[in-house]
Amino acid sequence: MREYTTTNSNPFVDISHQVWAWEIPVYLFLGGLVAGMMVISGYLLLSDRWQKPKSVAYVLPAWSLVLLSLGMLALFLDLEHKLYVWRLYLTFEITSPMSWGSWILILVYPALLANLVIALPNALKGRFPSLATLSDRMQERPWVLRSIAVVNVALGIMVGIYTGILLSSLGARPLWSSGLLGPLFLVSGVSTAAALVHLLAKEPEERAFAVRADIGLLVTELVFIVLFLIGLMNASRVQQEAASMLLGGPFTAVFWVLVVGLGVLVPMVIQSLAVARRIGHTHVAPLLVIAGGLVFRFVMVNAGQLSHWTPT
């Protein structure tokens, strides 16, 4: 028998002592989504698919800017010492993923703006003729277009991985102690972005491309989830205890039903049937993927906070 009592403030008793609430999962979700949109819009620029007049490449940068700003707002709301947020940009702490992330996010905005200008939506072209001229001049220079595309893809990958590394660097939470969280969050982010492209795309060819890409991404995500759990189950006792929260513990149902079942497997099957022309394309699969991605962040953040080191 081992009985432990403490007079310390205890998050298991007093919910106000929990570290992160809804803001961080929402921020990680929107960050991953925007990361995926940057990767996809960069790819569209590189592959010339953007030249079709109704290409989704013309709407992704604006959506990205709005969604990223909402994510940053959620992050800001989470801060307890809000008036000091500018302190992030007076230093660069090389060991802190949050410091890396805050500087990377500073680079993301100009990259998205450049992407917005080079793939300027028609609505903005009419309203801002000078922007339209600038856009035309940028499009005339292939190296500018390629540079913007490559920078968007690179920053998208960095942001996507960062959303996972942010958690996995906090070693006191054994559920997050896995290097696979970075790639897993990246793939999940690109998958939700592909689902959003599916919803936004007006060109049938682009919609089909998004669906095919999302099937591959969902398979990869599933493989990473399995590897992540295998890794934890073969690590130390505290990591095994952390993994057991998803394998029989309190988060089992929500993780396997909402995240893996409805968020990965069901849309994978629906989209595979649609690609095989057994059923038509609907909004069901992409909506499930997006909702699954959001629930995934909530599960990982909440379960991770409850996982902890305990003495033997």
């Binding site: 432990y4 310390n8 000091y84």
Partner: protein
């Protein structure tokens, strides 16, 4: 340069909470929070039970995850005593350090910044012991320079059996608990 640490004799601690009250008074710790606390651990099978009472606080780790994850440098290792400290005006309240600490030693102060035990640095600078050490009625707590082989803490660690909390977490704590009876 000193490297301050603490040694706590669990065979003397009675869990009276004097250290907790002294800390709250000395450091004006807000209601509902504490920088140090009492942990009681009962192990064994009836009737062979043993109880260990520990006065716990920030472990001032030599390998502090709270410092490494801080995005602004608010959590840092100070020159004075190589203590893990927080600069309130640099803290943005992101709570990464709270999530990174395996001991649950930190909390968010109602004013927004991360807070924790400082080893009463203001008292150390005046040559005094931390408040908790000063008031302990059983004299179970010892404070000093771990790098000085002649300090009381070093001599105790040399002559008695001791342990740190969660050594497997790799944080290299600087608070040691004596686990044997005094000779």
């Amino acid at each position: 340069m000193a490297r301050f640490g603490m040694v706590i004799d669990t065979s003397k601690c009675v869990g009276c909470l004097d250290c907790v009250v002294a800390c709250k008074t000395e450091n004006d710790v807000p209601d509902g929070f504490c920088r140090d606390w009492i942990a009681t651990e009962v192990t064994g099978t009836f009737p062979s039970l043993s109880m260990e009472i520990r006065s716990e606080r920030c472990n001032m780790c030599d390998n502090p995850p709270c410092v490494y994850c801080c995005p602004t440098g608010a959590s840092h290792i100070s020159d004075f005593g190589k203590l893990v400290q927080i600069t309130e005006e640099k803290c943005i309240g992101c709570k990464a350090c709270l999530a990174a600490c395996p001991y649950g030693a930190r909390f968010t102060h109602p004013d927004g910044y991360a807070d924790k035990c400082t080893f009463c640095e203001h008292r150390l600078r005046e040559g005094k012991d931390p408040a908790c050490v000063s008031v302990c009625p059983t004299h179970c707590m010892y404070f000093g320079d771990l790098d000085d082989p002649n300090s009381e803490v070093s001599r105790l660690l040399e002559s008695r059996k001791s342990k740190t909390l969660l050594p497997e977490a790799g944080t290299r704590p600087r608070i040691y608990f004596l686990t044997d009876k005094p000779k």
